[in-house]
């Protein structure tokens, strides 16, 4: 414990000295640095912060040093996370390579693949995107139709992927492809890395109801992929995908309550947009809705804490498995509540007559509808709880 406290002190000092003031506040989408071949830093502060953290090897603090990681113990990594949170430091690098592909390669990749890809992720040189879903596959991720035919020294890939976040800006994609069309659904799938610069790859943004286009549809038309880009065994990609899904849901659950945009809280909105009388919100209906929301928020926050304590003490419970469902449903409820509180002020789409916060509130509301669909729909979450936790029979 004493060593850990020493590490905490050192970390705190280092962060105080090295994290620029501009990087100590929530990052709006435009403030984020995602790296990549053509990347530019959004600001000088972002550049300084990234480079210092990179040189400190704290971009991936828990990865082994051999691959560019910081080699910290889980306890040290947790202390670092706490200290970063304490000063509200922005992530120096946003990266699906860091969050998703890296962990998969560490578990399933060959030594060559680790050495080839992990350091470039950590240095922010290559930006990755993820290709799981396909048009029509929806929740049924194993219904992969994108074909990768064995052509001796390479695979020939044809098909398309959807919901490929940032595919129009990414350098590479990790995706599921069907390598044995004759096998049972989940048995003929492989996990393949593809360079987006290859001939035959293209990505088209999809416009969402929020007006944004952070997702793409990505097309593969006779794309040649070297065999060395296969991760794990051929036709065994589904087990990697499953492990990554579990990892992703945990990530979503953890990030659930942190919105990347500057968003007003419902309580603050109530103070600004609702009349009070006798120290209370005058509108009983909205006051009740706000209490319900705040109580749920508090209950979820406490359950996050409990999950952490359980993890630290090696206690098992069903709590971690509910977080994706409750967290995303809460975010939707929050947005609906904000609209209700703001009234006509929360209905502006763009242009004059509305503040930026008001316009953002509506856009975030529209975007919130994706949360219970992406990364495993709420229905899938409930199915999983019914079967895995409650042990109810397959329907």
């Amino acid at each position: 414990m004493e060593e850990l406290e020493a590490f905490r002190r050192e970390t705190r000092t280092w962060l105080e000295e090295n994290c620029p003031d501009s990087e100590r506040q929530p990052a709006l989408p435009d403030d984020q640095y995602w790296g990549g071949r053509d990347a530019a830093f959004p600001s000088e502060g972002a550049r300084v912060w990234f480079e210092r953290m990179r040189d400190k090897h704290w971009i991936a603090p828990e990865w082994p040093s051999a691959y560019g990681g910081g080699g910290l113990s889980p306890e040290q990594a947790h202390v670092l996370k706490q200290e970063l949170k304490r000063i509200r430091a922005r992530p120096p690098l946003c990266s699906l390579g860091l969050w998703m592909l890296g962990p998969a390669l560490l578990e399933f990749g060959s030594e060559e693949q680790k050495l080839e890809h992990l350091p470039s992720i950590v240095r922010g040189e290559i930006r990755w995107c993820q290709g799981y879903s396909e048009p029509g596959s929806g929740s049924d991720l194993a219904s992969v139709q994108t074909r990768a035919e064995d052509r001796g020294d390479h695979f020939l890939v044809n098909g398309s992927k959807i919901w490929t976040t940032g595919a129009d800006k990414a350098d590479c994609i990790f995706c599921l492809v069907r390598t044995d069309p004759g096998a049972k659904k989940q048995e003929g799938i492989s996990f393949l890395l593809i360079d987006m610069a290859s001939d035959g790859v293209s990505a088209t943004p999809i416009e969402l109801i929020s007006g944004e286009s952070e997702f793409c549809q990505t097309f593969f038309d006779d794309v040649l992929v070297p065999k060395s880009n296969l991760v794990g065994e051929i036709n065994k990609g589904w087990s990697i995908a499953k492990a990554l899904l579990v990892h992703e849901r945990k990530l979503i659950a953890e990030m659930g309550t942190e919105s990347p945009r500057k968003q007003i809280t419902p309580t603050a909105a109530a103070r600004e947009y609702l009349p009070f009388s006798d120290g209370r919100i005058a509108d009983a209906h909205l006051r009740a809705a706000l209490v319900d929301y705040e109580m749920l928020l508090q209950a979820i926050a406490l359950t996050h804490m409990r999950c952490y304590e359980e993890k630290s003490t090696g206690t098992q419970s069903a709590a971690p498995l509910i977080m994706k469902y409750v967290g995303t449903e809460l975010e939707k409820a929050k947005s609906e509540l904000l609209l209700a509180i703001m009234g006509s002020k929360g209905l502006g789409w763009e242009g004059e007559g509305f503040s930026q916060i008001e316009l953002d509130t509506l856009r975030i509301w529209a975007f919130s509808k994706t949360l219970t669909i992406a990364g495993g729909t709420s229905e899938i979450q409930l199915n999983v709880l019914a079967k895995r936790v409650l042990g109810l029979p397959q329907s």
Binding site: S139, I209, A340, S344, W349, A366
Partner: protein
Amino acid sequence: MALVLNEEQRLLRDTAREFLTKNAPVAELRRLRDNCDEIGYSPSLWQEMVALGWAGIPVQEAFGGLDFGYLGLGVVLEETGRTLTPSPLFATLVLGASAIQLGGNESQKERLLPAIVAGELTLALALEEHNHHNPTGFSTSLRKENGQYLLNGSKCFVLDGHSADQCLVVARNDSGCTQSADAVCLVLVPRETDGVQCDRTLMADSRNAANLTFQNVVIEDGWIIGEGSEGQTLLEAVLDRGRVALCAEMLGLAREAFERTVDYLKERTQFGVKIGSFQALQHRAAIMLTELELCQSVVLQALTAVDEDSDQLPAMASLAKAKMNELVQTVTNEAVQMHGGIGVTDELDIGLFLKRARVCMQVLGDSGYHKDRYARLCGY
């Protein structure tokens, strides 16, 4: 027999559906939106509606109307809810014409109503001054100075305020009377009058509203409607017609979003079966069906209450608006969720229903407003 459409009303509904499906499908709203249309609705479409007689449905025959009542108007609005068709029907015909019919003097009626029926005049009601509906909390005032009426104040969330020929401005009549709640009047102000400033606002439903300010606007004699002591009563009567008519539109919106979702449940395959075979989705859909059926009865009764000039109208209007607010919220949320990934893309129309629903929920009173009002009307 007020809860079942009669033959004429059914005919009108079929005509309306055919006309709107052909001439104003949801794609037409999309076109207006993508072209950032100046007006927000199609004037030529409006003239076709006028030619079909729609602008005269609730207007008395004496002024060129069809005197076909709110049940008649309701079936048309329900259909425009299905196609999300923007038009002056709500602002001009429901809010504007009913104010004139209920509160105007003979000369005002003769001057204005035939023009509305003929499609030559559009109106907008300027009521709100805050972010929540409030038919009593406004400070826009009309006062007399040197023998002239002057209007001062500012209004927000004025539907069609940017395009209407004239605005009906709700004001407190401070020209001599006491400052009682009854001293409310509606002032007719041509949009181009000196001292009127109009700022259009772009809303979530791709329709338009406007913020209006009035600075020492000189009001001509004959522009004031409902002068005297009945202003608040007149205003509530107009607003209740607006609420009920809007509910008819919302019912159409809910039915359409629901039916599109049920169709999708029948055609979409996941895990080798139609997703409509999943019992959890079946039950959610069935529960929505029960709510839709209950709301249909409520909306029909509320429209009837207008036609019968029932003293139950305020309660029925609040019942209808509170229930429809909740229904469109539930149905559009479920529609998006049940469509899954495609449901959150702009490519699919469902998102347009979702956004229109949120605007409707705020127009003329949210759920809390109408639940509170219903309770007050019930005496608790």
